[in-house]
Symmetry: C2
DNA sequence: GTCTATATTGAGATAGAC
DNA sequence: GTCTATCTCAATATAGAC
């Protein structure tokens, strides 16, 4: 069998896939162990609890997300360009890590119930701050509408990004770029033609 | 104690509130019984299973939704007006029945796992059909953009409607009308100012 | 129609041998 | 580092008295 580091990674990867497909609650430690090629008791040599695995997945995801957002902000774009870049960056990460993305999007309630939320809250707040800053900068510059609450707009575009990036079925095999273009076009310019 | 009909209604209402707040899986039959003022064993005089309660909630919700959508279609509006009306109608129902709305929006995975999905699938498909027909009619009429897949647009606006209608916290106490105006404005005309 | 009491199942986690 | 065996708890559901 592989060394410790590999086995740990294997457990994390298998867990992420199961959590994303079946939900955290419906995934048992026995299923995780099966997928990792060991028995359930042996999991506890690597992790103190099932929630510890969840935490490792989510912190890794938020870490990647915040560092990519920082790179976007450093590029010094105007608000509309920055918004497009945030959409694209998010969708690219969603394609690379569909399982962690699904957890971040679907398991908020589980996180709250399991007291795990406070462990990832800082990262989530930081992510929200980035979006809101870009949006508010656009409103201040007159590039975005002043008659709609920036927080409301943020919630709408955030949900559109993460839900459409879920991967799996229904998204018709769009690339991250295609999805980003469509979402940016709708949210900035609208779906009506204004002929 | 009240007669049978009242007790049944009480169980359904209490269940809906608990399911929406804590999730179906995390809500125990004991909690439901507590909220209804009886003991858990007595629940099974009214319902054959916990899932039977879920089914009653969801079918009632889908019933209300499809009948209201039918009324919208009967009004004979142009595509953009019809889309606005669907948004408003949906948000109004979401305000009236926040708990059932939350189930419809959040518990899809539970429904699939519990075999309950096939019981509500027909209604869900009907609902989707209404949205898609309006959208495709708008594209055909040249009112909506032809460069974006109607199914993608449907998914985005559907998620925006149901997620923003969740009620509870975060939506800053907007009325259904205010939310519908904002969502329609963004999705049809865009958030950019085009000065 | 509701109660008491309990059957049954499945889950996360632990102890200690190897 | 993994296995075997098991503890403990909580959940849905049932049986039968009242």
């Amino acid at each position: 069998m592989p060394d410790t580091q590999d086995r740990r990674e294997l457990i994390v990867a298998a867990s992420a896939e199961l959590f994303a497909r079946k939900g955290i609650r419906s995934t048992t430690v026995r299923e995780i162990a099966d997928a990792a090629g060991i028995l359930s008791g042996s999991l506890y040599h690597h992790f103190a609890s099932k929630d510890d695995i969840v935490q490792e997945i989510l912190l890794g995801f938020l870490d990647a997300l915040t560092s990519r957002y920082a790179a976007v902000l450093d590029a010094g774009m105007d608000p509309a360009q920055a918004l497009r870049a945030l959409v694209l960056t998010s969708l690219q990460l969603a394609k690379e890590r569909p399982d962690a993305t699904a957890l971040y999007q679907n398991e908020l309630r589980y996180l709250r119930e399991s007291q795990l939320f406070k462990e990832v809250e800082a990262g989530a707040v930081q992510v929200q701050r980035v979006w809101l800053d870009v949006i508010e900068r656009g409103v201040a510059a007159g590039d975005f509408r002043a008659d709609i609450d920036p927080r409301l707009f943020h919630r709408l575009i955030r949900d559109a990004v993460w839900l459409s990036g879920r991967g799996r079925r229904g998204d018709g095999g769009y690339s991250a770029e295609q999805l980003a273009d469509a979402i940016s076009a709708i949210f900035l310019d609208g779906y009506a033609t204004h002929a």
